[in-house]
């Protein structure tokens, strides 16, 4: 499997995402100005501040040349994982429902959180033991997931709410404790916490690896 990690001038966690992805396959960086996705099997939009995150997080990044290709890639069913800023970009680009607003606590906040996998049956979570919590760090200033009630109901019914915060750990004020959602087809997934920062016992937990392992299973399953 070969994953591509987008690199914007203001990306911060792109190398971390590449290192994490390399634990389950190949991973290359894809420059924001290029349209060529280099035949990757999946795309990761990493954390950081893409174009400085001025105006609204992800607002400008969604218009980059590489995002045109990613949008096509996603429409054709390609796997796209958006982490933190990547999640914000995917929402701004309309590839995922909803939006991410400034944290309710009005501060950038870095905290280890326990994520509940509510939807283990996706290309990104199949390797997560049902009911088990994933200990993964979150660090962002705009992570308050918002969508109108009708949309939220629909997302819950159609199983598009993939991960949730424990209610007492929902520091950013996300509606219904939503930490990550996928699109209807299930091939695009965005979450605020950082699985790529939970892939090595030395620097924390290894729970985040499950997300990348799930992607490998999805891709390599598709290949045979």
């Amino acid at each position: 499997m070969k994953l591509g990690v987008l690199q914007f001038p203001g990306s911060c966690d792109e190398v971390d995402a590449q290192l994490a992805a390399q634990q389950v396959g190949d991973a290359v960086l894809l420059w924001h100005g290029d349209r060529d996705l280099q035949d990757v099997d999946g795309v990761i939009i990493p954390g950081g501040f893409s174009y400085g995150d001025y105006l609204r997080a992800g607002a400008i990044a969604r218009f980059s040349p590489v995002m045109e290709s990613v949008t096509e890639f996603a429409r054709d069913g390609g796997l796209v994982l958006g982490i933190c800023n990547g999640f914000q970009v995917l929402c701004e680009a309309g590839l995922l429902p909803g939006a991410l607003l400034p944290n309710a606590n009005r501060r950038f906040t870095f905290r280890q959180v326990d994520l509940e996998v509510v939807q283990p049956d996706t290309a990104f979570t199949s390797a997560c033991p049902a009911g088990e919590l994933l200990s993964i760090p979150a660090k962002h200033g705009s992570g308050r997931y918002y969508a109108d009630d009708a949309t939220l109901d629909r997302l819950e019914e159609s199983g598009q709410v993939v991960v949730r915060y424990r209610p007492e750990q929902n520091f950013n004020g996300s509606l219904r404790d939503i930490a990550g959602v996928c699109n209807q087809a299930g091939n695009v997934f965005g979450l605020m916490p950082h699985p790529e920062h939970a892939v090595d016992a030395l620097t924390g937990s290894t729970d985040g690896l499950r997300i990348f392992e799930s992607m490998r299973t999805a891709v390599e399953g598709a290949h045979v």
Binding site: A99, A104, N105
Partner: protein, 79 residues
């Protein structure tokens, strides 16, 4: 010409900044202020004002969470 786009959080969406300002005021001795909403003010020079609607909807505001209002200003140089 000079134009101004006012971007506000949609009604019903929590505006923590606004709430914080509202909370801070009494401590500073200011009573009788309520319903504080904080949004974005974008001012720019534009050749073709007709484009503003689109620019606002696509970039300056996210229609899902924000409303915007366009004000065209005369060409008098900005204060």
């Amino acid at each position: 010409m000079r134009a101004r786009v006012l971007v506000r959080p949609k009604d019903g969406i929590l505006d923590p900044q606004g709430v914080a300002v509202e909370r801070a005021l009494p401590a500073l001795g200011f009573e009788g202020v309520s319903d504080v909403r904080i949004g974005r003010l974008v001012e720019l020079q534009i050749d073709d004002p007709a484009q503003l609607e689109e620019i606002s909807a696509q970039l300056l505001a996210n229609p899902l969470i924000e409303d915007f209002e366009i004000e065209l200003l005369d060409d008098a140089p900005q204060a």
